[in-house]
């Protein structure tokens, strides 16, 4: 799956979990760039993404995601 498609899909997951329609993500977006995104709801986002793609990240992978681009690459690797 192309990275643009993944970012589009995870944007809709973010929008749903954070209840904010104005969220716009790109590969450089970090937790500091989205007002409502914080470490408390990060876990909900991750579990929703894992459920959506039917994948399971390793703890070390999750801890090393620095931005949406890393997250998207991580999803792409799992889907291969």
């Amino acid at each position: 799956m192309a990275s643009e498609q993944i970012i589009k899909e995870i944007t809709s997951i973010f929008t749903r979990i954070l209840e904010d329609d104005s969220i716009s993500l790109n590969e450089h977006t970090t937790i500091n760039d989205v007002d409502a995104w914080n470490s408390l709801n990060h876990i909900q986002i991750i579990t929703a993404i894992e459920k959506h793609y039917k994948i399971r990240f390793e703890l070390n992978e999750l801890l090393n995601f620095k931005n949406v681009g890393d997250l998207s690459d991580g999803i792409q690797k799992k889907l291969k």
Binding site: N38, S39, I43, L59, L62, L63, N64
Partner: protein, 477 residues
């Protein structure tokens, strides 16, 4: 060497001068020597301890990176944690732990004749800060997020750099090392910007924090005889005091580092204007709260993500007990941490209800009430934080509701100086928070007004500052 002392500013001036006069290839060595002198000024024997810590962690960082196998890698990581935490526990928590263990033994044996083997050693200043910084560095290597630093002089400076050595910020390797690789040239803007930041820090410390400190100490030391109104007023002021004290220190640290061309991590982002507690902790002592978030909270929560919200509750509890305990070896610090975690759990549980209320109310009014309630909770928890024992904290809280008597405000001038100080401090923060004006540090904003305001600030510090106020609160941690 206090950051507010003449000796410090002489030291800083000489260091900055020497740093830029030397050819750039010698500047790192010069900063290491300057930082070592700075630390020796506190207590010479501390330098030996920090040298051992630097050599050990430099070597083990490389070993963690070199170990490709899971077991070997995690063994080095565990060894690293064991030694660093061991040093911290030995100096900071030994007496507390041993006292509590003996009290526990005493509960089970009525005739305990053992004497408690207390240690009579001074806590090396800054230990909690640089140990956490080093643990973060090695954890990043373990996770594969960074490479181990091969240049021992760069690694030494990462630990020793004197503006952040004693009270942080707890710097991150991925922010600091890239700055060491860059060639630093003299820029007068760095000196001016750093100088302004120092002036602002001195204002917060000498005019706001130390002024409040005189009043607050005189109230709290006679808490039993003070009226409820006085205790409440002093407690509210204490929140401003702690903030002005610690953020003032940080401003001086960041300003000093800027003069050498380094940007240290911001530690505060207008926390007293936070609309809820989770926002408060993203704005207060950011270098510690983000450290705990990255190395304690996230691993716990993400590892147990199948548990749903229960993993968040566990993560919050453990993280804030660590934050509480990090401040010192007393039960009141632990209780301070527990209170924060319980309030944050409440915020998660009440989120949907609060959103409903916010939709029914005027947004500005809702925000104002949220800021006020957050401030009151922080004030209440800081009563526990400032007290040596939990019963002392309970006496103050009880006194607020029960004690009768006249309102004590010392002299009218005491009150006036305190209120002017707090007003000026918040007058910079409120407009910045609500985006009514540009950042305080923006060089491009009205040049004349800025210069005038800093000139006024220097005069006001000289007039209203407390020059024998003593230590920073966060030196003790």
């Amino acid at each position: 060497m206090l950051f507010t002392s003449i000796v410090y500013f002489l030291f800083l001036g000489i260091s900055v001068l020497g740093y830029y006069l030397l050819p750039s290839k010698f500047r790192h060595y010069f900063l290491i020597i300057a930082s070592a002198v700075f630390y020796m000024y506190v207590k010479p024997s501390y330098l030996l301890l920090i040298a051992v810590i630097i050599i050990f962690n430099y070597a083990i960082g490389i070993q963690i990176e070199k170990s490709s196998g899971g077991l070997r890698r995690s063994t080095f990581r565990s060894l690293n944690l064991l030694l660093n935490l061991g040093i911290l526990i030995f100096f900071k928590y030994w007496n507390f732990l041993i006292e509590n263990v003996f009290q526990l033994i005493g509960l089970f044996s009525a005739k305990s004749t053992m004497s408690i083997p207390f240690l009579d050693v001074l806590l090396p200043i800054g230990l909690s800060y640089y140990i956490f910084q080093i643990i973060g560095y090695n954890m990043d290597i373990y996770r594969g997020a960074i490479k181990a630093e091969r240049n021992i002089f760069h690694f030494s400076l990462f630990v020793l750099f004197f503006p952040k050595l004693l009270v942080g910020p707890i710097e991150r390797a991925n922010r600091f090392f890239p700055q060491l690789k860059k060639k630093i040239v003299f820029r007068k803007e760095n000196i001016i910007e750093g100088g302004k930041r120092i002036v602002w820090g001195l204002f917060k410390k000498l005019v706001v924090a130390d002024r409040i400190s005189i009043y607050h100490s005189s109230v709290v030391t006679h808490a039993q005889t003070q009226s409820g109104e006085t205790l409440l007023f002093a407690s509210l002021l204490y929140t401003f005091q702690v903030y002005a004290d610690f953020s003032g220190y940080t401003d001086i640290a960041l300003g000093s580092a800027k003069m050498f061309g380094y940007d240290l991590m911001e530690n505060f982002k207008r926390p007293l204007l936070a609309k809820n507690l989770s926002e408060f902790w993203r704005r207060w002592h950011i270098s510690l709260s983000s450290w705990v978030n990255d190395y304690i909270f996230n691993p716990i929560v993400l590892k147990h993500r199948n548990w749903g919200n229960r993993s968040i509750y566990l993560g919050l509890f453990v993280s804030f007990v660590v934050i509480g305990f990090w401040h010192g070896a007393t039960w009141s610090y632990v209780l301070f941490g527990v209170l924060q975690s319980l309030a944050l759990i409440y915020e998660i549980l009440s989120r949907k209800r609060r959103i409903k209320i916010s939709k029914r109310m005027n947004r500005k009014l809702y925000n104002a009430i949220s800021i006020l309630l957050t401030f009151l909770f922080v004030t209440c928890s800081l009563i526990v934080f400032q007290s040596a024992t939990i019963s002392e904290a309970m006496n103050i809280i009880k006194g607020i509701f029960v004690n009768k008597g006249p309102f004590f405000y010392d002299k009218p001038s005491t009150l006036l100086f305190i209120l002017i100080g707090c007003t000026i401090m918040m007058a910079f923060e409120i407009p910045a928070e609500f985006r009514l004006m540009k950042s305080r540090y923006s060089v491009r904003s009205n040049w004349f007004t800025q210069e005038l305001s800093y000139a006024f600030m220097i005069i006001y510090i000289l007039l209203a500052g407390v020059f024998d106020g003593g230590q920073f609160i966060y030196f003790a941690f």
